[in-house]
């Protein structure tokens, strides 16, 4: 094991799922069947596997957007359950990027990005400073007053990335973040994603089909039929 990898192991585990089961339609559709995974802080982890293997479901469970039927989910060392302050989790601990940008089309880029700050009660000045910083780094500073409808697909996804990082979360969950983009745009958005998470020390857990992108992450986790099949080594 390299020294860099050893240093990473010294860090704490920020995402952990232990024997997690999840089914829908009253048990008719089993999605997760005892999934187990651990993510170390400030690393990037790619979650690979065929459609329907439970990647998105696992991400939703980590964000507190859904609850497991069985098993335990930990985020930042604390269990995600009903007694956990899920609002705090969504506002301050976890950012989420979807395959579809999920921006509000009638609002401007600025307004969309300020939504998490408004939800968390962060004052407008502080939020604007953060937005200017992020928009500078994502190359969107000339688009701040533009409506989402006027932005290209890549710009929309970069906006979604800015919004997810607005409140400085320590964890970023990305569900096929480049899945709706063409190859070239997909590469550039992914580069940005890696760069931003690395420079901000954010842990990235990303569901993807794209093997090429997955290989660029620190760790690749294979999922199959609701289980984690294998962990590729840390680069």
């Amino acid at each position: 094991m390299s020294q860099a990898a050893k240093n990473r192991y010294d860090r704490r585990i920020v995402l952990r799922a232990a024997d997690v089961w999840k089914s829908y339609d009253e048990g008719a559709v089993s999605v997760l069947k005892g999934a187990e995974i651990e993510c170390i802080e400030s690393t990037s982890v790619a979650l690979c596997g065929p459609s329907g293997c439970g990647k998105s479901t696992l991400l939703h469970l980590f964000a507190g957007l859904d609850t497991p039927d069985r098993g335990t989910i930990w985020v930042n060392g604390a269990e995600v359950n009903r007694s956990r302050n899920l609002l705090h989790l969504l506002r301050h601990e976890v950012g989420f990027v979807f395959q579809l940008h999920n921006l509000i089309p009638d609002l401007t880029l600025t307004e969309n990005c300020l939504i998490p700050a408004v939800a968390a009660g962060i004052d407008r000045r502080t939020a604007m400073i953060r937005l200017l910083e992020l928009s500078e780094r994502t190359g969107l500073s000339h688009r701040l007053d533009h409506r989402i409808q006027k932005l290209s697909g890549g710009e929309r996804q970069r906006t979604a990335l800015c919004r997810a990082l607005m409140n400085r979360p320590r964890i970023l969950l990305a569900d096929e973040p480049t899945g709706s983009l063409d190859e070239q745009t997909s590469r550039s958005v992914f580069e940005l994603l890696l760069e931003l998470t690395a420079t901000e020390g954010v842990t990235l857990l990303m569901a993807t089909h794209d093997r090429g992108l997955a290989e660029r992450c620190d760790n690749v986790v294979e999922m199959h039929d609701g289980k984690i099949r294998e962990h590729a080594g840390i680069h």
């Binding site: 957007l65 609002l87 506002r91 999920n102 509000i104 009638d106 408004v118 939800a119 968390a120």
Partner: protein
């Protein structure tokens, strides 16, 4: 600011739907304002007829309508002798009809009544009143619709009368009425020796309580009420006012249902946005605030538009000659505030179910929903 944008975005996005909803509230508020103001004006006019230069009204106890009240005529003369009484005038109310005019209010009064003594005479004069038993004085509007002037003969019901004068009053009912000498009215309506009410003016208002006790003691079949007491207790007024509020309330309820329908549509069409807000940390309360804010915006804009339309309509009614004197278009601030508050409450109540629905949206499921 973002909150406001989130509230207004959906209203602007669905302009037609928002405008229809706003128009529903506006129409309801305008209807409520108009109906209540017109009826309150009518009640005020009737109150004015009764309280004309008096402070206390004496009439038959437990009577359902003043037209059915029967007070012995000599009682007025006796009450007039009481030391605290400045004057007491018997008034007999009746309804007469003429060709094409089935309902004309008739006032049987004495020459001392301020309707005659204080009137503005357009034709004839006070001295001509009660000089002849068949002489009647017409209100200005009655003279117009009966096409009659001084000295003309008119048919009222089964009898013919001669016009002894035309007076102008500020009261629509009186202006469209006929004034007969009390004795003639008693004979015409076959109510000899009685009047409907006695209007009493006291020398000192503070004697009202003592006066009422005296009436109670000496005339157990009669009741004396101060003008304000009468206004609040007379069942006809209460029925009229209750009807006005009920009609207006129904209108507002319909407006509220319109808002509810709009808000339900709004929530269903932006369910994905609500999920996005939830994923980005919006609490249930913050989601509810957006939905309630949207309904409040529709309600307030609708109510303000309705107030403007209603006020304009009432103002226009002032210039309709047929209604001259019947409509008092002055809108009370209290009524405006009450209508505004009701519109707002109705709008917010209409958003209750949609807001609860929105608060219960599960982001994961909603984001799957296209």
């Amino acid at each position: 600011m973002i909150f406001l944008r989130l509230i207004l975005t959906n209203l602007i996005r669905h302009r037609i739907r928002s405008l229809i909803s706003l128009a529903g509230v506006a129409f309801s508020v305008a209807a409520m304002l108009t109906v209540i103001t017109v009826l309150q004006g009518a009640v005020a006019m009737f109150e004015n007829i009764l309280s004309n230069d008096s402070g206390v009204i004496v009439f038959e106890r437990d009577v359902s309508d003043l037209f059915f009240s029967s007070v012995p005529e000599d009682t007025a003369a006796k009450i007039a002798q009481w030391p605290m009484v400045a004057h007491a005038n018997p008034v007999l109310f009746g309804i007469v009809s003429s060709a094409g005019h089935p309902i004309i209010t008739c006032f049987g009064i004495t020459p001392a009544d301020t309707r005659i003594s204080g009137a503005t005479w357009l034709q004839g004069n006070r001295a001509g009143f009660a000089q002849q038993p068949d002489g009647v004085v017409l209100g200005e509007r009655a003279a117009q619709f009966l096409s009659a002037g001084l000295g003309d003969r008119i048919q009222l019901g089964h009898a013919e009368f001669r016009v002894a004068g035309v007076v102008k009053t500020s009261n629509g009912f009186e202006d469209g009425g006929v004034f007969m000498p009390l004795a003639s009215a008693q004979s015409f309506f076959r109510k000899q020796g009685t009047s409907s009410v006695i209007t009493v003016k006291l020398r000192n208002k503070e004697d009202a309580s003592a006066f009422k006790h005296m009436v109670d003691a000496r005339y157990p079949d009669l009741i004396a009420l101060e003008d304000t007491e009468f206004t609040h207790t007379y069942s006809q007024f209460r029925i009229l006012k209750a009807t006005a509020w009920a009609v207006g309330g129904c209108g507002l309820l319909l407006g509220g249902l319109g808002v509810a329908n709009t808000m339900i549509m709004s929530v269903f069409t932006r369910i994905r946005e609500i999920a996005i807000l939830r994923v980005n940390g919006f609490s249930h309360m913050q989601i509810g605030a957006v939905i309630f804010g949207e309904s409040a915006a529709v309600s307030v804009c609708g109510a303000l538009t309705g107030l403007a339309v209603g006020a304009g309509f009432l103002f226009a009614l002032k210039f309709v000659p047929a209604l001259d004197g019947y409509i008092d278009p002055s809108i009370h601030l209290l009524l405006m505030s009450a209508v505004l508050a009701l519109a707002l409450i109705t709008g917010i109540a209409g958003a209750l179910y949609p807001a609860v629905y929105a608060m219960r949206v599960r982001p994961v499921e909603a984001l799957r929903f296209e």
